[in-house]
Amino acid sequence: MRVTELSLTHFRNYRALELKEIPSGFVVLQGDNAQGKTNLLEALFLLATSRSPRAHREGELIAWETPQDGTAATRLFGCVRRKDGPVTIELLLMGRPEARPPTTAAVAVEDPELLPAQSGVRRRLRVNGAPRRALDLLGNLTVALFRPEDLDLITGPPSGRRRAIDILLSQVDPRYPRALQRYARAMAQRNHLLRRIADRRAGQDELAPWDDTLAREGAFILDSRRSALDRLAQLAGSAHRPLSGDREELSAAYAATVPLAGPALGDGGAAVAQAFLARLGEVRARDIALGQTTVGPHRDDLTLLVNGVPAGSYGSRGQQRTLALAWKLAEAEYLREVTAQDPVLLLDDVFSELDAHRRGCVMAVAGAYEQVFITTTGAELSGQMMPEGSRYVVRAGTVTPE
């Protein structure tokens, strides 16, 4: 698939952007820093997932300076050409003054796994002109976003890896984001109940329905994640070999906080649900004391292993960066495999950290996808590295074809 049109109104530093007839192949977005290259990729990611890869509050996405009465409206519109026909996606964000972020960059870092719908920002989504809920948006436009922060997939905390696989699965299986949502809400309810039990304002018998829900939704999440991770590790291995020129063996390990008997079955995890439920019973006293649910997929980790060693403790910084790249290329390939359509690749400033050999490898792999957006300051893509494709110059919220 590919994006043929993109229109942004009052989005970050874009006042009014209209891009029509965006071609397939490489779409190179060239410009100095802080001109809006990354914002453009963020807009495409938002149209795909309704989430921002980096904003902690939705209010950050809105260009606030305009109207007099303190409210502001942001519109993102994209037209996607899929194998099965064109799709239009529209995302509206309407902000009240209280959602305006403070000018000082003192933004609290919340749990990045769940960008909460912020109070004061109303969201409206339309697909082909018809109103849709955020969950029904997923899957219309699928994207794989590459960015410098991907190194965190290898060296960072588990939350980033959980988020990565959650976004990946949400794009290919409509049941998955629903399971995540139900799981998160059931856990919030259970945690409140745990604290009420500790205060002797509720009885332990009230836990049963929440434990059931957690076990059922959690087992589905676990089973989906493990199935995807196995395949992802194989694909990452194939992507890694030409990048590194080495013969390392890549595999993946899913470190679960509930006992897992046997491999993922792709059956929604009926057996896992039983084990999960039993485990929730075992840790009940501890959970009540802590007022928190201490086991489940929200506490799990998934790691890439190199020759059996966790990737985070393997090799040099450069080798870790190569592993992160292999992971992302595997995600793109996974999307292609499962949906039988090319995802749109979004490469944000990925070349500055790579040597010429790795750049060449990435360009060769990316070139096999229908459409690839690349941002660059221009310096590292000079000469023979410049891909065949269309070029746009990004300057202060304007984008001009070259």
Binding site: Q189, A202, P209
Partner: protein
Amino acid sequence: MSRLIDQLNKLPGVGPKSAQRLAYHLLRMPEDHARALADAIVEMKERSILCERCQNITEASPCTICQEAARDAHTICVVEEPLDLVALERGRGYRGQYHVLHGVISPMDGIGPEQLKVRELLNRLRDGTVTEVIMATNPTLEGEATAMYLQRLIGPLGIRVTRLARGLPAGGDLEYADDITLARAMEGRQEVTS
């Protein structure tokens, strides 16, 4: 005036602007109309009580539905709110008894079984007349959890516990149904009979 606006603003679905508009409308109203509205509100508050059996809002207890002799005494349909009961009655597909919980279990809102009409429901099941309890709570996470919780209490009494079916709305269009509704409808498919 501003006191009235504040009061109206507290109503569900009424924002500050609507509250102002309503208040000015009331201001221009003939006095007898305004008095009739005020009386209606006060009278409703004074006269409305909960039915001793089904816990529905009524003026006389037991309520007219509970007193209707033609109704099946062996089934109780459990709903969250009085309005759900009204909706089911409008459908005319059910001729049994009701029980209104007045909410759903939601620990984050401080609502547990104690805050709902659960004990009253269990009391109605004691004498063995009721053979089936139909869970008609909403298909939300909390509605499901409430149904599950009640099922655990009622199941061991040897009473059949059923749940409303989920699927496509009548007169609906497949194209406009959301994914999850379609998936559920597929799960709950039935034999076509001639």
